[in-house]
């Protein structure tokens, strides 16, 4: 596993990096947000502290799912119409992936290339598109993050999202930001199969 350290440009605390391609790191000591640009680190303001909620997945606590081991190193929380959901950036044997958790609904997803010309308005609940069914659509706002992340997220950033599902527990998510569309593909997971290690 990759291991490196940086010093927080705000408070000087040593911060561990678990992922070679991390783009963002939150300082758990002073709450600063740090951009990681090649060899340099840059301060990017303060983070609000995320409230502690009951969760099977926790930062730096490895877990196993279907014989594969994962280590959560980053955590983002999004608010939406019904409440909130958590996205955990976890390191696996490959390039890492996102685990989405919303009150017992778990999904493992990897970022993929977004379809060209995808527009939020074109996805209506129940629509069938190339074998995928639109099962959820809504608006979300980033509440904050902790740990380290492979991409930039901004507290307070708003976006629209759609979830598409198909047989075999497959999931395809699209997130529509002002300047880009992010796409993720993965599978729903059974929380009863997740074993927290240690």
């Amino acid at each position: 596993m990759y291991a490196n350290n940086i010093n927080c440009p705000q408070c000087g605390s040593a911060l561990a990096l678990n992922f070679r391609h991390s783009k963002l790191r939150a300082c758990e000591y002073c709450g600063s947000t740090i951009f990681l640009e090649d060899e340099a680190v840059r301060l990017a303001g303060k983070q609000s502290v995320l409230s502690q909620e009951a969760s099977l997945i926790q930062l730096q606590r490895a877990f196993r799912y279907q014989k594969q081991s994962y280590l959560p190193v980053g955590h983002v929380r999004y608010q939406y119409e019904d409440g909130f959901w958590d996205e955990w950036w976890v390191i696996d044997h490959d390039k890492g992936l996102w685990v989405s958790v919303d009150e017992g609904d778990f999904a493992f997803e990897k970022r993929v290339t977004a379809p060209e010309k995808a527009r939020f308005e074109n996805f209506r609940l129940g629509d069938e598109i190339k074998g995928w069914k639109v099962t959820e659509r809504g608006h979300a706002v980033c509440e904050g993050f902790e740990g380290e992340l492979p991409e930039l997220v901004h507290q307070g950033e708003r976006f629209d999202y759609v979830h598409l599902s198909r047989a075999g527990g497959e999931l395809f998510s699209l997130e529509f930001f002002e300047n880009e569309v992010k796409a993720f593909k993965g599978k729903w997971a059974d929380p009863f199969e997740i074993e927290v290690e240690g």
Binding site: S55, L56, G83, E103, G104, G168, G169, L171, F192, V196
Partner: protein, 410 residues
């Protein structure tokens, strides 16, 4: 954190003012007052959506909202209750919630409990098109069609992940692989799939600290077949049956022994109508089983059959005496067929003689002797015993399964 309990909050019923406890998370779509039957919308300041004042209190419910217990090792809280009636039966579904594992259902019917969780895995073919005995596959698990039926809501209380109203109907189809089930539920809004697992009543009683619980006597469609004695015995008997069958077959095919040449020596008239016939044969492999068969058409002709060591005159087999010391023998009632297994102490020449009451031509008696034979009798009995246990277990299981499938619909 897996032990986390739900956060307890409370509000007053928007209709009657009764205190109501809230245990669930943000996915709740309705809250129904236990006292006045008002259905409220948690997403809109608990505004009353509808009211069912005619709703009768549920008297036969073993659990109440707020009850907590572990299901599959995870602590769940009962947040809502629905009583369904359909297909001549009524049952209670408890909506349960865990902050770490989300929402699930605990279904109670005539003392039986089933834990149901929503699954995103879809069946390989529609449950609705299945005929009796047909199967579906879900995530590599095979389920056999059990029944489909309509059900109507009789009673609602507490928090639910959908807006349930008394009188609402739904259509259910279920396939089973005891103790598991796969069900499809359709209503006017959506189709949902659930995986169920039978939970022992005693486990529920223990986990939810229930003082008394009705112990089911009938067989539920998901009750796993359990026999404390027969099931493990049949399981243990299976390898024995296979092994003893293979060994018996090998012995029967390849270890029947080598034929020994028999030479008629003398036929002697003893007077009083009795004739002694004598044969000689050579045994090369002592201390190995020797097998003798004698057949004739004349009744009592093989009486007083003896085998002696020629050199010493020592008797090895004496079929005329009940207390024959060496080997085993079998004689039919008419004494026309003799089978004997025995061992001789040394290699050498042995004589076989029998005394017939009437003069009997030698050609009318068929004698065969085989040496170096392996006995299969004990393996054969072991095979029979193992098969008997397995058959008994199979019959017991079949009887249980017929009770399970008796109520299956189409």
């Amino acid at each position: 954190m897996s032990e986390s309990t739900s956060k307890l909050r409370s509000i007053k019923c928007s209709s009657c003012g009764a205190p109501l406890s809230l245990h669930a998370g943000h996915k709740i779509k309705s809250l129904t007052c236990d006292y006045c039957g008002a259905v409220m919308n948690p997403k809109d300041e608990y505004k009353v959506l509808t009211k069912f004042s005619e709703q009768q209190l549920l008297s036969n419910s073993p659990l109440k909202t707020g009850a907590q217990g572990k299901l599959k090792g995870v602590l769940f809280t009962v947040i809502g209750i629905i009583e369904w009636c359909g297909d001549g039966e009524c049952w209670i579904d408890y909506q349960v919630f865990s902050p770490t594992h989300g929402y699930a259902w605990l279904s109670y019917e005539s003392g039986h409990w089933v834990f149901l969780r929503r699954t995103r895995y879809l069946p390989n073919k529609s449950l609705w098109r299945l005929l009796p005995l047909q199967s579906i596959k879900v995530n590599q698990q095979s389920f056999r069609f059990y029944e489909k039926f309509d059900a109507k809501i009789n009673y609602v209380a507490g928090e639910l992940t959908w807006v349930a109203r008394v009188g609402d109907t739904t259509t259910l189809a279920e396939a089973i692989d005891p103790p598991y089930s796969f069900s499809e539920e359709r209503n006017e809004r959506e189709t949902e799939y659930y995986l169920g697992e039978y939970i022992d009543a005693e486990e529920i009683q223990q986990q939810f600290a229930l003082p008394d619980l009705y112990k089911p006597k009938n067989v539920h469609r998901l009750t796993p077949y359990k026999s404390k004695f027969l099931q493990p015995l049949a399981k243990a008997a299976k390898p024995f049956a296979i092994l003893s069958f293979i060994i018996s077959l090998i012995i029967w095919l390849f270890m029947q022994g080598s034929p020994v040449t028999i030479k008629p020596v003398v036929m002697k008239n003893l007077g009083n109508g009795q004739v002694e016939s004598r044969y000689e044969f050579t045994i090369n492999k002592p201390k190995h089983l020797i097998f003798l068969t004698m057949d004739t058409h004349k009744a009592n002709a093989l009486l007083n059959t003896t085998i002696k060591q020629k050199a010493t005159g020592k008797s090895i087999v004496n079929l005329g005496k009940k207390n024959a010391k060496t080997g085993t023998y079998r004689i039919d009632k008419r004494i026309t067929h003799v089978e004997s297994s025995f061992i001789v102490p040394k290699a050498g020449v042995y004589s076989l003689s029998f005394i017939a009451n009437t003069q009997l031509p030698v050609k009318k008696v068929a004698v065969t002797i085989k040496e170096n034979r392996v006995g299969s009798r004990y393996f054969f009995w072991l095979l029979l015993l193992s098969l008997a246990v397995m058959i008994f277990s199979f019959v017991s299981r079949s009887s249980f399964e017929s009770k399970r499938w008796k109520l299956a619909g189409d």
